[in-house]
Subunit: 359 residues, 2 copies
Amino acid sequence: MVGHLDPQFLGIMDNIQKMLRRLFRTENRLTIAVSGTGSSGMESAFVNVVEPGDEVLVCVNGVFGNRMSDIVERIGGVLHRIDRPWGEVFELSDIEDALASHPEVKAVAIVHAETSTGALQPLEEIGKLCRSSGRLFLVDCVTSLGGERFEADEWNVDVAYSGTQKCLSCPPGLAPVTFSERAVKKLKGRESKVVSWYLDLSMIEKYWTDGERAYHHTAPISMNYALHEALCLVHEEGLEARWERHRRNSAALVAGLEALGFRLFAQEGHRLPMLNAVWIPEGVDDAGFRKALLDDYDIEIGGGLGEVAGKIWRIGLMGETSSRENIMTFLGALEALLQESGCLESPGAGLEAAAAEPG
Amino acid sequence: MVGHLDPQFLGIMDNIQKMLRRLFRTENRLTIAVSGTGSSGMESAFVNVVEPGDEVLVCVNGVFGNRMSDIVERIGGVLHRIDRPWGEVFELSDIEDALASHPEVKAVAIVHAETSTGALQPLEEIGKLCRSSGRLFLVDCVTSLGGERFEADEWNVDVAYSGTQKCLSCPPGLAPVTFSERAVKKLKGRESKVVSWYLDLSMIEKYWTDGERAYHHTAPISMNYALHEALCLVHEEGLEARWERHRRNSAALVAGLEALGFRLFAQEGHRLPMLNAVWIPEGVDDAGFRKALLDDYDIEIGGGLGEVAGKIWRIGLMGETSSRENIMTFLGALEALLQESGCLESPGAGLEAAAAEPG
């Protein structure tokens, strides 16, 4: 463990910034790891560029869009919220219509990969619309970053935030964020101070990006070591190869699940490869099944959150865990437990279908 | 790494809470580790119990009192600030006078161990005053907790926060906090939502302390492992023994420093054992000296912060680093570097004086 102003640690911070820029696909100078988990990244996105009275359009189709709305209201932003059913994604026209109704909106916020539903939101057209109309575009890529294509600069994203424990396969505890020059201009031109001292990037950037290296708070040293190593592994594999691996493995899992009669939850054509959400089959006890999976097979899958609690399962294939071996182990356990509970007559179809997918 | 809702991890959280209560010397149910560094603990203290318009008295005698003031203003509190020269502590009468002038004050905030000056603030009488007058008492014990007596319940402290990387010898990344029933009552009776979603303890407590174990944000798993282990080590040594070790070692360091002609910075009788602040001798180049100490001897000492930058050094003896061996290594290096720079004629006096102190 070295100090947070030790030259060695400052070098690690520099490397982290460079590797995060490659990961977000951005040239943004203000690209750092916020000292908290992914949710602190969400909060830092809003508190830094939304001032009291600023109108914000938030697109909600799951838990994390809901959370964005909550944050906007807490910090005094004027919330305009549009909703889609959970599991679906937004069309460009949804956003166009909302902006036509609320022309004073200064920022549009949306979730790229909705962890609560498994839906993958297309961003490119919305980004163009925001840029051409002079609005900031804020994106939650907590679950997608490093596992699915994300292009901060090409898609005109102004603020993006993520977490470390999803497709980066690093322990939870830091939130990678990136702010465009337009977002930084808004931050520097604020009339009011950022309501959160801890997340005020106008001060934190002096520690991360200035030669000054001004003390703000003590960085979580060992978490940054972990992120540094995780980013090295990500770039060693290569982003495109990593996205492709996540897609291939998801296809195999989905083939196996469908062969067992499972129905996917998220809208077809807009499904996440790293979080595969399925309807729980009728007659299966949600909590009991997941407990047996954990106790007997050491496998944890996510239950439903919010309005889909007890209705869906969320099966993660993120970062290092996205492997063919894990899929076969999981499908084998799933078949065995379904058979035990009398919900499956002859096992093997899931494993067979998954094995038939190109590896 | 297990999940943040894994039964094994929930057990670790329960143990952490029990060990933190013993550490803070409190029965407070709401005693947890906030998912950020010590500064997030400070922010969580204020955002949870101070509402917009609430009057708060903040006592400032260093960097961290300043930071408290900044936070109170950002969240819309009405700040009443009293100042003492850096290095000095507050008298009870200072607080009495301020409260007489501002009878509507709802909370009094003060720093127990001012890391920027090395001053140790007595708390017991101020705590009595706050309790008897129905005000909340908020205390920063980032640097003291685990290294110097701190008695949350006995001293009528309503909110206390700390960090992990000082006298707990854990990596930075979590902020132990404790909230009394009075503080929780204020939190639950708020008219406005807590401005920070990430630090809103009315939600976080449902994850930490309720049977419900409701998901709020993903806890930093490995950081909590580290804190669990650090707390085991603290209680294995015993709190009283730990405080005594810090005192004995500080006495040895101070004897060595005074024998070399150094003058202590903080007010006599109110000096921290884990952070020993001294005036930099005339003719010594601050930054160059500290760089040589780090490069040649792998020893890092703190420079001055804020108004004492370039004027003082802050020598930490915290947790595991508070050892006689470290003191002798440091004094040897200090003597050698002072001699090299022509500021010391005959070395040895510092080491000799330190060695003469009871170990």
